[in-house]
């Protein structure tokens, strides 16, 4: 066999695309009556699935805890069969798990996709690049005449996600040992960020999520504040939100120029 034929066969056998009783197995790999070639290849096949499910478990600890050992393993096996790894880092295997759960939802727990998305986002934030942090003084230094045109540069580790149900509520219940009841339906915005080496998340109003995304798009402060326009006191609410962004360390720079 050529090297190409050997690797195609071995890959198919390990990934499960080919049956272990394929006639080519005995032709490619020597075996004995006591230890058949197919049994030897099966060692690799069994480790393959187990290794990827372990990697998923590490990235989605609360989802794994919620489902339990067997259900999570079944989910992992189905997912890996549908979405084999395409990245050298095994830690990235789960990047489509939330979408997979949306495509094949658990009829009783349609919120599991949201929990998976929150956990994947936390994983991304953990490994995201570091950013400097500036306080509200940086905004004050700009001067009142230019403040409407100010751009806020958000931390490179900050993420804003909008989920179908409140995964933060489910997370909180699981962390405190309460029954993990199904959260009420309705969109829920979540901010995920890192301070030092620790990852945090919190629910935010939809207007604030829109404002953060506007800032991420490089828009000026007057546009950033626009989502609060329908509030009873838009200026006060926008000010409160901006103050919290600085306090939480979400702002890495303030500039009066559009982003390059």
């Amino acid at each position: 066999m050529t090297l190409a034929e050997t690797q195609a066969l071995f890959h198919g056998l390990v990934s499960g695309e080919l049956p272990l009783d394929d006639v080519a197995v005995e032709r490619a790999f020597p075996g004995t009556d006591e230890f058949r070639a197919a049994d030897r290849v099966a060692i690799y096949r069994n480790m393959y699935v187990g290794r990827l499910v372990d990697a998923l478990r590490e990235t989605f600890p609360n989802l794994a805890r919620f489902l339990g050992e067997e259900r999570f393993a079944r989910l992992g096996q189905s997912y890996v069969a549908a979405h084999p790894s395409e990245h050298h880092d095994v830690g990235r295997i789960g990047w489509r798990l939330a979408d997979f759960l949306r495509e094949y939802p658990d009829p009783e727990r349609p919120d599991l996709a949201d929990l998976a998305e929150l956990e994947w986002t936390r994983n991304e934030v953990f490994f995201a690049p570091d950013s400097p942090v500036v306080g509200p003084d940086a905004l004050a230094e700009v001067g009142p005449e230019k403040v409407a045109g100010v751009r806020l540069h958000l931390s490179r580790s900050l993420r804003v996600v909008v989920l179908a149900r409140s995964a933060t509520a489910l997370w909180r219940r699981m962390e405190s040992g309460e029954p993990a009841e199904l959260p009420a339906p309705g969109p829920a915005a979540v901010v995920v960020w890192r301070r030092g080496f620790e990852v945090f998340h919190c629910a935010v109003p939809m207007e604030e999520a829109a404002a953060l995304r506007t800032a991420m798009d490089g828009e000026a402060l007057d546009s950033i504040c626009a989502p609060f326009a329908d509030r009873s006191d838009p200026a006060a609410d926008a000010y409160a939100a901006l103050a919290s962004w600085f306090n939480e360390g979400w702002i890495s720079a303030v500039s009066v120029n559009p982003p390059a």
């Binding site: 090297l3 790999f29 020597p30 690799y44 990827l52 050298h88 570091d130």
Partner: protein, 281 residues
């Protein structure tokens, strides 16, 4: 030109022990970091590695270079490796004589190759490409294997020795892997040591394995067993003083226990090499 380094005795840097490494330098001479775990732009792992690097030499040990694959060498991977090497300035860059990707899919395993002239030419050309890209020599580790190939025309030690001579790469001799493969295929592990080119070996790996009855599984989840220590003694007698590394990747115990294994490697090295040194003086 491939050159041996005198690093002493090291252990693997594992997440479970990060806090201890940050508190104080543990009594080891160097650490090995699994390359892919630190190919990140930020976060705790790379920050810890940079701190540890200020304290002691670091060796980068990859598992996903996939040097034997027929897929093109991954530009994404090589660029990330290049950045990490520039950032950490490791004492060595190592990976495995194996393949793990096929048509863009990664199996995340260290799959053996048929030891043929076709494989040798293929792997050699890729080792040369990687070394040119990094501007340095790499070392390749012998894998633990559970299958052999009817097409193999040479032994693994012959393949590795010839690969090393053709490309000037080094050999990372995993003593546990030699033992595991020897048991799994019924050859004498000492034949492996006698057959491999002694001038090309740049590092030893030591680890534990699990006995599954019909075969040994390379699990790195327990102390180095006595049979592997015995084989390490044989390796020391043949190859002399080389950096050693104790690997422990699953059911990881306390840092003190891993360090104790590394200290044991140092004691065994002294026991085996002291008579030779006395004779030389």
């Amino acid at each position: 030109m491939f050159q041996r380094l005198d690093l002493g005795h090291g252990i693997g840097l594992r997440t479970k022990h990060f806090a201890r490494f940050l508190e104080q330098r543990p009594p080891v001479d160097w650490v090995e970091a699994v390359t892919e775990n630190f190919m990140t732009d930020g976060g705790r792992p790379i920050a810890v590695l940079e701190k540890v690097r200020r304290d002691m030499p670091v060796v980068l040990h990859g598992v996903s270079l996939s040097i034997g694959s027929l897929d093109p060498l991954s530009e994404t991977y090589l660029a990330a490796l290049e950045r990490l090497v520039a950032r950490i300035e490791p004492a060595m860059v190592t990976d495995h004589l194996c393949w793990g990707s096929h048509r863009g899919q990664y199996l995340h395993d260290l799959l053996p190759l048929p030891y043929t002239e076709e494989s040798l030419s293929h792997v050699a050309s890729r080792v040369v490409a990687v070394q040119e890209r990094l501007g340095r020599r790499i070392l390749l580790e012998n894998p633990s294997s559970y299958v052999a190939f009817r097409d193999s025309a040479m032994t693994e030690w012959e393949f590795l020795s010839e690969l090393s001579r053709r490309t000037d790469c080094g050999i990372l001799l995993d003593v546990n892997n030699v033992y595991v493969s020897a048991r799994n295929f019924g050859f004498d592990p000492v034949d492996y040591l006698d057959g491999i080119d002694p001038a090309r070996i740049g590092q030893f790996h030591l680890a534990g394995h699990s006995d599954k009855g019909r075969y040994l599984l390379d699990t790195h989840d327990e102390p180095v067993p006595s049979a592997v220590w015995d084989l390490y003694r044989e390796a020391l007698r043949r190859f002399g003083r080389l950096p050693s590394l104790v690997e422990w990747d699953d059911h990881i115990p306390s840092l003190d226990e891993v360090v104790a294994q590394s200290r044991r490697a140092a004691v065994i090295e002294a026991e085996e090499l002291a008579p030779a040194l006395r004779r030389a003086s």
